[in-house]
Amino acid sequence: MVASMAKNPDLLPGTLDMLILKTLTRTPLHGYGIAQSIKRISDHVLTVEEGSLYPALQRLLLQGWVKAEWKRTETNRRARFYTLTAAGRKQLGLEVSQFRQMIEAIGRVLEDAQEVG
């Protein structure tokens, strides 16, 4: 629980939405699955709080970037699975490129600062 998306919403706005969308590119997942997936892939650096996850999912649904449907899990339990839509895929590409640009910009600023220092 090093970085908490919910507690630093101003740090990188929209990052959570992007991570969720990215997670869903591989396979449809339920809320718990999304949280677990992000946690696992980030080596437990990023923990998605439930308090942020569900509002974010509602926001994505509302935008039409994900779809939700009730399905059975492998353990035969009812869960709501989220699927990326075409619009969501497009949005993800947009957000990733914007994010990369930002990271590069931040990186350049940091390197420049090191040279001077």
């Binding site: 339920h30 569900y54 509602q58 926001r59 649904l61 509302l62 039409g64 009730w70």
Partner: protein
């Protein structure tokens, strides 16, 4: 995604909101369960796992609420708040009813009074550019006195500051329609009167220049009310003739419904000046009032000095009649609303304070009630309600309270205005026709809306203060005991403020009560119990000479005496407690005189008048039936006149005359009577002279009757008896004389010039 698509999704969720909530709940429960399983997989006991999962999850309600906020409409939460606030109010009906009633009372009363303030002081007079209109008059012993006809003509010709100057005066006619004759109020005006006011007739035409000169054709304009009532609103009324006191007047126009002229509010027929009355032939006789319109760019002050200069010139040119005659101007609105303004503003201040008290009361109630809800607030806070949300909730409750109070106030104000309109004494209502227009209009609605908004702000402000002052957890830790900090901080101050306001209000009410008490205790100089009075008007063509009039007096007196219960009958030209009017200038031979105007009220009364009033004789004798045309002219004076003009002397046997000591005007004082209040109660006792009505007969007069029985019951019988005495008599203004009624209808300010 398009805004439309998002909106459509929101609507879909709104429609299936229960399903949405259930699904969200299920989803979160599923998540919760998985987290718990994870914990157990890591070796925790079932119990520990549940606790850990709950800790990690935090407040599921909050998660759900925040998720819902994303998809919900903003107004959805507002609806929630309103619904919750309603439940709160319903749960505490006593609190809600008290708060709403107090707000309704405060706002209703102030809105009702504001309605009158609006009608009188805010709505402009119904004339073109009303702020350019001036009330123009002369000034003499009293600061504002009537214009004389000749002075008016000179002022009109000589002034350089007024675009126009016109005059009006009251008039009474006997309207003859078929076989019925009825006394009606009218006004005589100069030709440009309506043009000066900027009023155009609704039908027909205005008076043309020159149509007010003597021996011009008799023409008349009707008010809208007279046209509707007496001519059924027929548009072919123009050109028809109407019989006013025997003269045939051609109707040339009908005034618009918006027209009203408060100084002559009861006038139904408007005629040009035409033939001069007896008074108008003399420069020293003043019976007109002026209304002028300022020239563009001229201020009232300039007009005043202009007219004063003219008055000074006239005083030099006509020293006998115009000595000491000055000029006075004031905005016409001042003449019309000047008398009611202090009353209205006082009332407005009073209800303003009342509203303040109501607001303070409701505020205290809300504060106290909030103390009793500390626990609830704390619990809701712990359950995840943010303090912003809680404040919004309380603000919503305040909003609901003031909205409910405002709606009740609207209904209350409507009723109050109807009641208050009825409470305005008729004499005052006649002088202030604009008050009749007070009602629920846009201004009043706006005022009430502003009041409601203000109340909302106060209540919301209190909610915010109590919301932010308190740490949410206080409520739980203290367990809601005792009175809270907020109440201690604010409540004490509120009570102090309220006490201060209440003291001011009580002080005002006390002073008002004292004034009323004094008015009621004024010694009116006669016994008002069992007195009935009625005004009579005699057609001019029926009784032309004094002998005929005296014969009619005798006949009327005899017939009225025969009415069962009547004890005595008296005649006067003006009923007592009427007005400061019908004045005369006197001069006492042998006393120094420098042209000053010794203004005294003149009354023509019968021998039975003082006896009927039960006035007290102080010296000499009362008038009697022998004081007629065959005997020397005599005069009865009141105590104030004796004190003022015969200080330290015995006035009996002394002579009193007019300013020129003309032989015809000389009369011998035969008696002194204790002051009978002839004018309004609030005026001080004024000098009065009484002439014998047999020496000055007139074709309009008042009849005063003392009865042994109920004076009200006598009135119809009295009118019938007078009506039967001679056909065509006009009878009006039937009244009794209740103790302490300073103003009664039909007398004040309606002058009936002698035939």
């Amino acid at each position: 995604m398009s805004v439309l698509g998002r909106w459509a999704r929101k609507v879909a969720i709104l429609i299936r909101r229960n399903q949405f909530a259930d699904e969200l709940k299920e989803e979160i429960a599923f998540h919760h369960q998985h987290v718990e399983e994870d914990m157990r997989a890591r070796g925790m006991s079932a119990e520990e796992a549940r606790h850990a999962a709950s800790r990690q999850f935090g407040n599921t309600l909050q998660i759900r609420e925040r998720s819902h906020e994303v998809v919900g409409f903003r107004w959805e939460t507002v609806v929630q708040d309103v619904r919750f606030a309603l439940r709160q109010l319903v749960r505490q009906p006593g609190f809600a009813a008290t708060a709403i009633a107090m707000l309704a009372l405060g706002m209703g009363a102030s809105t009702a009074i504001f309605g009158f303030v609006d009608a009188a002081l805010i709505q402009p007079l119904p004339y073109a550019q009303p702020n350019r209109l001036l009330d123009v008059d002369e000034s003499a012993t009293s600061p504002r006195s009537n214009l004389s006809y000749d002075d008016y003509q000179d002022w009109k010709a000589m002034n350089r500051t007024l675009a126009s100057l016109d005059v009006y005066t009251g008039m009474g006619y006997l309207l003859q329609m078929g076989s019925v004759s009825e006394p009606v109020s009218a006004a005589r005006v100069s030709d440009g009167f309506f043009h000066t006011l900027g009023v155009r007739p609704m039908l027909g035409r205005d008076f043309l220049p020159g149509e007010d000169r003597p021996s011009q054709p008799k023409i008349v304009m009707l008010t809208y009310g007279a046209w509707k009532r007496r001519f059924d609103g027929h548009s072919d009324v123009i050109g028809r003739s109407v019989n006013l006191s025997g003269g045939e007047y051609t109707i040339i126009g009908v005034l618009p419904p918006s027209f009203s002229f408060a100084p002559r509010a009861d006038a139904e027929f408007w005629v040009p000046l035409l033939d001069k009355s007896n008074c108008e032939t003399r420069r020293s006789c003043h019976n007109l009032d002026g209304v002028g319109r300022l020239r563009d760019g001229v201020i009232a002050q300039a007009a005043l000095s202009d007219l004063k200069q003219i008055a000074a010139q006239l005083a030099v040119r006509y020293p006998i009649s115009n000595h000491g005659q000055g000029a006075t101007v004031q905005p016409l609105s001042e003449l019309i609303v000047g008398r009611v303004r202090p009353i209205l503003l006082m009332l407005l201040a009073g209800v303003g304070l009342l509203l303040l008290i109501a607001c303070v009361n409701v505020a205290s109630l809300v504060l106290v009630q909030s103390e009793s809800r500390r626990r609830e607030i704390a619990v809701r806070g712990a359950l995840g309600a943010t303090s912003a949300r809680l404040i919004r909730q309380f603000a919503t409750e305040g909003l609901l309270l003031s909205a409910a109070g405002g709606s009740c106030a609207l209904a209350l104000a409507g009723c109050l205005m109807v009641i208050l309109r009825g409470l305005v004494p008729k004499a005052m209502a006649d002088r202030t026709p604009f008050l009749g227009a007070a009602g629920l209009n846009a201004h009043v609605g706006f005022f009430l809306a502003a009041m409601t908004l203000l109340a909302m702000l106060v209540l919301t402000g209190i909610s915010t203060v109590r919301g932010s002052l308190r740490d949410l957890h206080d409520g739980l830790s203290e367990g809601g005991r005792g009175s809270g900090r907020v109440w201690r901080q604010l409540g004490g101050k509120l009570v102090t403020a309220e006490l201060a306001v209440a003291v001011v209000l009580l002080g005002g009410a006390g002073l008002l009560g004292k004034s009323l008490y004094r008015l009621l205790r004024v010694d009116i100089g006669f016994n008002p119990d069992h007195l009935a009075a009625v005004n009579v008007m005699i057609p001019q063509n029926a009784y032309r000479n004094p002998e005929q009039l005296n014969a009619l007096y005798d006949e009327l007196e005899r017939k009225v005496r025969e009415v069962p219960g009547v004890e005595s009958v008296g005649f006067t030209d003006t009923l007592p407690l009427g007005c400061y009017c019908n004045t005369d200038w006197i001069r006492i031979p042998g006393k120094p005189f420098h042209g000053e105007h010794n203004d005294v009220m003149q009354r023509d009364v019968s021998a039975g008048f003082m006896k009927t009033l039960q006035a007290r004789l102080l010296k000499g004798r009362m008038l009697n039936d022998f004081d007629d045309a065959q005997h020397p002219k005599v005069i009865l004076i009141n105590e104030t006149l004796a004190h003022t003009y015969f200080p330290g002397e015995d006035p009996i046997g002394k002579m009193i005359g007019g300013t020129t000591l003309d032989a015809k005007s000389m009369r011998q004082v035969v008696g002194v009577v204790a002051d009978v209040r002839e004018a309004a109660l609030e005026d001080n006792a004024l000098p009065v002279e009484y002439f014998s009505i047999r020496q000055e007969p007139d074709n309009f007069f008042g009849l005063v009757v003392r009865t042994a029985q109920d004076e009200k019951a006598l009135l119809p019988q009295l009118s019938r008896t007078i009506g039967q005495a001679h056909a065509g008599l006009g009878i009006y203004g039937e009244t009794t004389m209740p103790r302490g009624s300073p103003s009664r209808p039909g007398r004040c300010c309606t002058s009936f010039p002698p035939g």
